[in-house]
Symmetry: C2
Subunit: 503 residues, 2 copies
């Protein structure tokens, strides 16, 4: 582990001092814990490796919790180091005394508290092992202050090592069952997680082409390959009503790297399960299983030939008014090679997936856990993990959650382009409240969903934190700004001014 | 309950729609949950009444948790309304499925989840009752989406009522014991919580004067009266070493409205308990007890006459360089009548308590739980609760945690003056790391405590969110800016540029 996204306090000062002795560990200061945890998530999505966070007691872990929730749903390996009061100090109920363990346990991962300096090396190795899974998970190591500052009394003869458990192999009987269903029923492959790499998507495509099955992907992947030459699966839609319609003719669903798709929220008179009643589901390779082996097994059994990947023209750079359509076209038209995209565009980015099918090959990260404020931090972490340019597409409402990430992008001179979408509204909530039947004609409720009065100057928020910024009010300006940013080292912020609300 | 600080999502849309039907409930949109919870804390400190927060599932509660921790330590009444997935949807482990209960329980307050629309009125009344305590606490009511949108099948004959439990009376025997100690030993009254009102401080002063006891107050009060004509107790120091020295000659400590003082953190070779070994402590009126009755009992038993309150000159407006000294003088010299101060100045405001003794009478709120990011939200809530001008004194590092509060100040046209202290450093941590012995000479560790490269433009962060801003680089400019702000309705932001780091 070579990277630590940190927002330390008094209890973590020995860790900070230790950075001077361990030059291989890159410490990156974040001005809010939600930035640190989201950055560790992005780092892991791109590299497959865990980064550490360094957090200050219960409030520090709580501040980082929402993005840890997203990381948990992305099933990435991640290690929290949480400082705590000295072991003997806890009994005194000092102002910062807080229950760290239940906060960590609510993330459904691994948790331990070191009780002696002699245990720290072992515990750290165990934390990293646990984080790897598979599937990846959140490991939280609590280090009381006196464990940090105490002396090691008995150094281990050899340093503890990190154990990486291999991916589980798919069950042979489930392979047979999958093949039978693929051959006979109206079936679909439902792919997610690690099955969304370029190579595995190609395998899945061969299976689908050979068997006549549909190929559908999960709605919110942690990271996927996308663009020209990459198989573009049908994406399960976000709105339950549409997703149910999408799946209604499917009698058999073979799940690879994904769990059963369910409604993001419940709605009155809409079912939570999205598959049709009686649909036969085979969990061939759940998260933590070897999705590549599962796909190979199907390819081999079907003797599925290499299948042509759909080809098409990259969309052209748009002109004229800036709308959600021209926004997506501008983004899709200008992507440089190997771009990594963190998409927290919400309603503003609704056309991006469709229009990016034939863009320059890139990787796409999405909001896995539904907890907004993931985009900027995840982009930051991705840029630390990679030499590639990162693009964050960030809705204004979501951006306001973790805008402190911009400062760290500037400080670390990271190659991140941020497109901030200004629609001055929680537009998604204007949609959602109709769907749950909470319709009201009053101005009071409407005002709770609007981000104007005052309008937020997104560019100024970026510039104030050291990120150069520019504003695009037309598609042409956006294209120019994107191209300039991709050609310029370091971060850049582009405010894309969209029509207000849903558009 | 008439105020709700909200950051809603899909699960809370019916609550939002309900605001149109209940004009007595003021809904205030906050762009991050930590702002909403801190605002509810400030509201309660000033008014004594609970406000509601409206939060979105586990991540929403987690984002608000740090300021709830501060509110818990301030012992204010506060009611969280947390939306959850529909009851029948929870089993499907949808992306936002999260364990809300353990997050709420870690706040050591009250928690319930409504299971049917018929229960909501009762549960809400119970939540408010629980919040009042005494002492005040965090009550969290979880409302699943289907409970929100379902129909009430059996309306109660009469609406459930909120029960307010009376304060507990101090024990007569403890009064006698306290009197004996006050008469014989080297004793001190240690006051906190509700005992810090102007009236109760005057009673405590009479007891101290009459018995020869010292009068000491807790380090970080939730809210206290301060200024000319108000008794100014000796304040227990933050640094354990100094606090231990302060208390070393005291054989008997009579605690009123406060718990035993303990070290904020533990440090190598410094004890956690601050009182001298063998010091006799009488917990005469712990939090939740009637501190005024306890003080009256002592006054009566001692026949303590009315005691003169120390008088002195208000400090003059300073000139010249802006230092922590002239900063405090500028603040103390210009306070308008009945100002409410939220002090999150950390190292920058070290001289304020001393210099404000003879300022125009005001109220002072401090960081009770040690979780930074409390100042701006608490000031926002205080301004909603009161017609008085509010002053937030905000260190740059702390400000970056919850800077979204500025937008709500602008939207609601609140009379808040924010003085943002720019010292481009986590200066407190430069001090703390020496105290814990984590001294290191390396640049890497030092860089983790510095907020420059890039320097943050605090004024621009405020202006971008609709708050007019100005920069003061001298004491004279700061005085002028403060006076102008106090004379101008609405919020204003003043960046006070201090020497870098500790000064």
């Amino acid at each position: 582990m070579t990277t630590c996204f940190a927002n330390p306090g008094t209890s973590e000062m020995h860790f900070v001092a230790g950075l001077d002795d361990v030059p291989d560990m890159r410490g990156i200061l974040c001005l809010f814990e939600g930035v640190a945890t989201g950055a560790a998530d992005g780092y892991a999505r791109v590299s497959g490796q865990p980064a550490a966070t360094l957090l200050h007691l219960g409030p520090g872990l709580a501040n980082g919790w929402a993005n840890l929730h997203n990381a948990r749903r992305a099933r990435v390996p991640l290690v929290n180091i949480v400082g705590d009061h000295a072991t003997y100090h806890a009994q005194f109920n000092a102002p910062l005394q807080s229950d760290i363990a239940p906060l960590a346990d609510a993330l459904k991962g691994w948790r331990r508290s070191s009780q002696h300096p002699d245990e720290v090396a072992r515990d750290a190795a165990d934390a990293i092992s646990a984080a790897y899974g598979p599937p990846g998970q959140i490991a939280t190591l609590i280090v009381p202050a006196d464990v940090s500052w105490g002396e090691v009394t008995s150094a281990p003869e050899k340093w503890p090592t990190v154990v990486r458990t291999a991916l589980a192999s798919p069950d042979d009987q489930l392979v047979v069952q999958s093949l039978n269903l693929l051959r006979t029923a109206r079936s679909a492959l439902f792919v997610g997680g690690s099955a969304l790499s370029r190579e595995q998507l190609a395998l899945a495509h061969r299976v689908a082409q050979s068997s006549g099955a549909r190929l559908i992907m999960e709605t919110f992947p942690a990271i996927m390959d996308r663009g020209a030459g990459v198989v573009s699966p049908e994406r399960l839609m976000y709105l339950s009503e549409f997703a149910i319609a999408q799946l209604q003719d499917i009698d058999a669903l073979i799940l690879i790297g994904a769990n059963e798709p369910v409604g993001f929220f419940a709605y009155p008179d809409v079912q939570s399960r999205l598959v049709a009643n009686g649909c036969n589901m085979v969990h061939l390779a759940p998260p933590g299983y070897d999705t590549e082996a599962a796909l190979h097994a199907l390819v081999d059994a079907l003797a599925a030939p290499v299948a042509t990947v759909a080809d098409g023209e990259r969309v052209s750079a748009p002109h004229g008014e800036l709308t959600t359509q021209s926004l997506a076209a501008a983004l899709a038209a200008t992507m440089p090679e190997d771009l990594i995209v963190a998409d927290e565009s919400n309603t503003g980015g609704v056309h991006l997936y469709g229009l990016s099918q034939f863009s320059t090959p890139h990787r796409l990260m999405t909001l896995t856990g539904g907890s907004i404020g993931f985009g900027l931090p995840t982009a930051l972490g991705a840029a630390v993990a990679s030499d590639q340019r990162v693009l964050a597409i960030e809705a204004d409402g979501s951006m306001m959650y973790t805008l402190q990430a911009l400062w760290t992008m500037a400080r670390e001179s990271l190659d991140v382009t941020v497109v901030g979408l200004s629609n001055r509204s929680y537009a998604i909530l204007n949609l959602e409240r109709q769907r749950v039947g909470a319709v009201s004609e009053g101005d009071t409720s409407q005002r709770m969903l609007e981000l104007d009065n005052p309008t937020i100057d997104l560019c100024a928020l970026a510039s104030a934190q050291g990120v150069p910024s520019t504003r695009a009010t037309s598609a042409d300006q956006l294209v120019t700004a994107l191209e300039r940013s991709y050609a310029t080292p370091g971060p850049m912020f582009i405010e894309a001014v969209l029509p207000k609300g849903l558009s």
